[in-house]
């Protein structure tokens, strides 16, 4: 779509506040006045509160549960255990990954803090008191904590429910603690390349267990109407329609009697995609008591039991020629899923899109194999601002490229550029099965190098290294580089579904008689600003001011079926549906315009907010006039009204990419780091709202910083979990958070109606390896090849200690 050039057109486009404008956000009006409507703000008459009694053990048989003291507390209305749930066949629930998960502990517990009993009371203080009074007798069992030991011959059995099942949801299981093996690529060809490789690297690159930790925890308010036989569920759901489908499947209620509403959500980041025991227990409690039941988890519950992210252990090998051309990539991943495989991936992808591990590089051959295992930890994992497993493998490839560059003695930028997929190779078929839509890596990298003065930084670093060796300084300087390509926008129906429903998305747009409009989409913003940006797309497509367009999301009764917002899929899929629906409206408006102006449709051209006659521009009809006409007098044979629905099945994913460069100084004697500079260039194709893009990048970089430099959920050898309150789980304040420099290039997606790719998760994908590479880069000249994350003060100090730097 070409930008208007004549002054009147520019002025009219400005008034529209359409695509490309830094339109101020609609959402802010209520959020800055304390008028957000989050789940815990909602109250229903007679509402009860639910709270869990949770397991103190990591692995134990339950010998008895005594709920009598809890039930005796005045104000307690019900206490649910697995026994009560079995009565309605809900003691277990299906996960999105084809596994099953206990809703309440059934015979045994499998991770510390697992839900055992659900206490329902008239207020949350009473529920908390009563939850403490549930008494559980445990018979402890040996634990499996190290995923590398999960498949030992003498490993304890974790999942007795599937102990004898030789086949899981994704194929054969090699061991009772094994979940799946997933492979892709040409194993024989790859092995052959490695067998004759001139140079090869092999490293175990682990991405630690972390958690998305949105500021608002998971919560729901469920109300079952016994008279109508209908259930209404308010909840923190990134995918409300998916939740409705889950409820329909497990509760045997028909879809038209299930009303799922996601109101305002205080951050999701993947934490709020799947269904949790709290939702199911609240629903059962509401059915049993006949009253609305609210469940709000606290932060420790959130961090220790709702789905974690990552915990991927990636043995990554690169083969290359001595002069720096990569010839092969071989990766084996051990995936720790905790007690249940509650991954929120598209169903055919048990390891998400891990096969994007080829990254931005032209590997002629590659092979990837992933083994998932059970351990005594919280179940999962989810895509913490990362599409599906993309952050994990982006970390692996970007670290591995740095390690190989170091081995070859080539600068890490030069090594990357030498192996980039070239612009003319797009659309690019990767050796692991993806067709990358578009990219111009060389231009982006060049821009990044110039903006940061990269070569001068390397000179400075050399000088500082000499100074360190001479004992003149105790600081090390690291320069981190990451050039990521990620895969988002799940996804085409041919290979993407959730619970059997294809991963299209949807938009319904209705233009009112006075030229205002209402849009309802299948996505669900948790801070991404859809109320603002979706209107911008419509504004540009059909020439109505964005301020005249109301956007609604999150109510399954009114929104067309969508697969929700996560994995940066909203702009690629829902955004496309919006454009397509808008174009249907525009096409109808064009016919009306032709009729009113008494010309053929082909004689009309579009001019920002109107159709005008070619060669006769004073003859025009604005969309506002056409809207009225649609309700007033349409051409013979045409229905009145002006609205359209589009369900968009994307032909492909999209492939945003970026060049990130980080300069870091490390105090060797304390392990403390200081980020001197962080430059992030992102290419997300067409940019809908630059202000919002910049905000998304800032936020994602900050999350990536936290992950690389300190976040970790830790289990000790007995299965005790730690790092699960904000005392220890690293959320940086404004003081620690670096200042971000953002930049961009624009390489539109050729298959997307507006050329947009999505951007929300790119910064998390690219920044983690960038920070990790910076830390590693600081120590390279002293002989270090790989230091694992997180790079908190202690572990950076330990790396220095291991190198003998504290003599």
């Amino acid at each position: 779509m070409n930008a208007p050039t004549d002054p009147s057109a520019i002025e009219r486009a400005e008034k529209l506040q359409g695509m490309g404008c830094k339109r101020k956000r609609v959402e802010d009006v209520r959020f800055t006045q304390g008028r957000g409507n989050y789940v815990d703000d909602i109250k229903l008459p007679g509402m009860l509160h639910g709270d869990f009694h949770r397991s103190s053990r990591a692995h134990a048989r339950i010998k008895s549960i005594d709920t009598s003291k809890a039930k005796a507390v005045p104000g307690v209305v019900a206490v649910l255990t697995a026994e009560e749930l079995k009565g309605v066949n809900l003691a277990w629930m299906p996960t999105l990954a084809g596994d099953v998960q206990m809703v309440l502990a059934d015979g045994k517990v499998l991770f510390q803090n697992q839900e055992i009993a659900f206490v329902v009371a008239t207020d949350r203080y009473i529920a908390a008191d009563a939850a403490d009074l549930v008494e559980v007798e445990y018979e402890e069992l040996p634990v499996v904590i190290d995923p590398f030991k999960a498949m030992d011959a003498d490993a304890p059995v974790l999942r007795e429910d599937i102990k004898d099942k030789k086949d899981g949801a994704h194929g054969p299981r090699k061991h009772y603690n094994h979940i799946f093996n997933w492979q892709i690529g040409d194993k024989d060809l790859t092995d052959a390349v490695f067998n004759k490789a001139e140079v090869a690297t092999k490293d175990l690159l682990s991405y630690q267990r972390v958690h998305p930790c949105p500021l608002e925890t998971c919560q729901c308010l469920v109300s079952f109407d016994k008279i109508k036989g209908e259930i209404t569920i308010y909840g923190t759901f990134q995918a409300p329609h998916v939740i409705r489908t889950v409820v329909a499947l497990i509760a045997g209620l028909p879809e038209h009697k299930i009303h799922v509403i996601s109101p305002d959500i205080g951050g999701g980041f993947g934490n709020k995609v799947g269904a949790y025991p709290g939702y199911i227990c609240s629903a059962v409690a509401s059915i049993v008591t006949g009253l609305p039941v609210k469940w709000v988890e606290d932060r420790i519950e959130n961090l220790s039991t709702t789905s974690f992210a990552r915990d991927y252990h990636m043995t990554t090998e690169i083969a290359a020629t001595r002069d720096g051309r990569v010839t092969g990539l071989r990766v084996h991943i051990l995936a720790d899923h905790g007690a249940f495989d509650a991954c929120a991936d598209p169903s055919k992808w048990p390891a998400g899109f891990a096969n994007i591990v080829t990254g931005s590089y032209d590997f002629p051959v590659a092979h990837l194999s992933v083994d998932g295992v059970y351990t005594n930890k919280a179940p999962g994992g989810v895509a913490y601002r990362c599409s599906f497993r993309v952050t994990e493998v982006a970390y692996a490839i970007e670290r591995a490229m740095d390690i190989m560059a170091q081995k070859l003695g080539i600068d890490p930028v030069d090594f990357r550029v030498k192996n980039f997929i070239k612009r003319e190779q797009f659309p690019y078929q990767s050796a692991l099965g993806w067709e990358y839509d578009s990219g111009d890596y060389h231009t982006a990298m060049q821009k990044a190098l110039e903006a940061t003065g990269y070569r001068k930084l390397r000179e400075e670093q050399k000088a500082k290294q000499e100074a360190f060796k001479r004992g003149e300084t105790r600081d090390l300087m690291g320069i981190g580089v990451a050039f990521f390509t990620e895969i988002v926008g799940a996804g085409p129906s041919k290979n993407c579904d959730i619970l059997g429903i294809a991963m299209f998305d949807s938009a319904e747009i209705r233009v009112h008689p006075t030229g205002r409009a209402l849009g309802r989409m299948g996505s669900k913003s948790q801070g991404q600003g859809h109320e603002t940006t979706w209107a911008q797309i419509i504004a540009t497509e059909i020439g109505i001011p964005a301020d005249d367009i109301a956007i609604e999301e999150g109510n399954t009764d009114t929104a067309p079926y969508g697969l929700g917002t996560y994995g940066s899929r909203s702009t690629p899929v829902t955004g496309a549906a919006i454009a397509m629906a808008a174009r249907k409206i525009k096409a109808k408006a064009q016919m009306i315009a032709a009729f009113m102006l008494e010309v053929h449709e082909g004689d009309l051209e579009w001019d920002v907010d109107r159709f005008r006659v070619k060669g006769n521009p004073e003859q025009f009809k604005t969309m506002t006039q056409l809207a009225w006409a649609a309700y007033n007098k349409v051409p013979p044979g045409m229905e009145p009204g002006l609205e359209a629905v589009s369900y968009y099945d994307p032909p492909n994913m999209t492939y945003p990419f970026g060049a990130y460069i980080c300069v870091m100084d490390i105090d060797v004697d304390t392990g403390v780091h200081k980020v001197r500079r962080f430059y992030a260039l992102d290419d997300c194709g067409t940019r809908i709202n630059p202000m919002i893009i910049e905000g998304q990048v800032h936020g994602g970089l900050t999350e990536g910083y936290a992950i690389a430099m300190g976040q970790e959920i830790v289990y000790d050898a007995m299965g005790n979990v730690s790092g699960v309150s904000l005392m220890d789980y690293f959320l940086p304040t404004a003081v620690e958070t670096p200042i971000w420099e953002t930049d961009y290039t624009v390489t539109p997606s050729p298959h997307h109606p507006i050329g947009a790719k999505g951007v929300g998760e790119s910064p998390n994908v690219g920044s983690v390896p960038c920070f990790a590479n910076a830390v590693n880069d600081a120590f390279k000249f002293l002989g270090s090849t790989h230091i694992a994350m997180p790079h908190d003060n202690y572990r950076v100090w330990q790396a220095a200690e291991n190198l003998g730097l504290h003599q």
């Binding site: 949350r124 203080y125 908390a128 008191d129 403490d132 606290d298 932060r299 004697d669 304390t670 392990g671 403390v672 300190g710 830790v714 730690s722 790092g723 005392m727 220890d728 690293f730 940086p732 304040t733 003081v735 620690e736 908190d792 003060n793 202690y794 100090w797 330990q798 504290h806």
Partner: protein
């Protein structure tokens, strides 16, 4: 997230507070700023049956100078410590350390008394009180007594105070004008307790260290008065070897727990590094 139940009392006078504390159940607690106690109550790690709120007792507030001593009321908040011109002039190390405690909101309510009274090894002020040779004034049913900060801490959450005693004020003889001071606190982020921290007060004579006291935070069950480390620097101009000896002496008495902040070995070493850095900064300050 939800605390257990308790009865709430808000006495208007110190006498009333002491009477309540000695007459109520053994698990009755006083509450000052509440920013140590309430978080523990929310996790149900502390379950007092009575809370005696000291907020309405006027005589527990105020910072004054009298007879060569600075007297700080126990209910003086960190925010008030930072804002006090008297303390900035005479005891600047308190402001420096207070700015490193928690965050702005916590500092508005958190008190000096609350920070020193209960023996939490993570708190910053106890080490400084030891450094400064502070004396705590305690009031109980038997009356008033004074205990030196250096004698007050017996173990984690164990102090020399009797169950019926309330810490009502801190008395400090300020070091001479122009003294060197520094509080060096290594932490993971703003708001965290110390991975290790060292406070130093020193004076010079002819350019060399004449007097020195060093306190260490969060590297043992109590704050530590690092006397050997301080002795090691007397008479020196803090040359490299002397600093190394002081660090080693600080490490020798540290026995930190391993936790999310790092291994015991790392934290011990950091006690040494913080000691050296605090000494260097204090020395630079004393030299003007």
């Amino acid at each position: 997230m939800i605390p257990g139940s308790f009865d709430y009392h808000r006495p208007n006078s110190l006498g009333e507070a002491v009477a309540l504390l000695s007459s109520l159940d053994a698990d009755a607690r006083v509450i000052a700023g509440g920013h140590s106690l309430i978080p523990m109550m929310k996790l149900r790690l502390a379950t007092p049956s009575h809370l005696i709120d000291l907020a309405a007792i006027g005589e527990l507030k105020g910072v004054s100078a009298a007879g060569g001593y600075i007297v700080i009321g126990a209910m003086t908040t960190q925010h008030e410590l930072i804002a006090s011109d008297l303390l900035t002039a005479r005891l600047p190390i308190l402001k420096e350390a207070a700015l490193l405690i928690a965050d702005p909101q916590v500092r508005y309510l958190g008190t000096l008394g609350g920070n020193v009274a209960n023996g939490d090894p993570g708190n910053d002020m106890p080490a400084l009180m030891m450094c400064l040779g502070a004396v705590y004034v305690l009031r109980g049913k038997a009356g008033e007594r004074r205990v030196a900060a250096r004698d007050y801490y017996q173990g984690a959450y164990a102090t020399a105070a009797n169950p019926d005693e309330i810490l009502i004020a801190v008395r400090i003889a300020p070091p001479p004008a122009g003294h060197g001071y520094a509080y060096e606190k290594l932490k993971r982020k703003v708001g965290d307790y110390a991975t290790a921290a060292a406070g130093v007060i020193l004076t010079l004579a002819n350019g060399a260290v004449a007097t020195c006291s060093i306190g260490l935070t969060n590297v043992a069950e109590t704050a530590l008065f690092a006397d050997a480390a301080a002795q090691a620097v007397l008479g020196s101009k803090l040359d490299k070897a002397t600093l190394a000896r002081a660090s080693a002496a600080a490490e020798a008495i540290a026995s930190p727990a391993a936790d999310g902040r790092g291994s015991a070995e790392y934290r011990r070493k950091m006690a040494g590094v913080m000691t050296a850095r605090a000494l260097s900064r204090a020395f630079a300050r004393a030299n003007g």
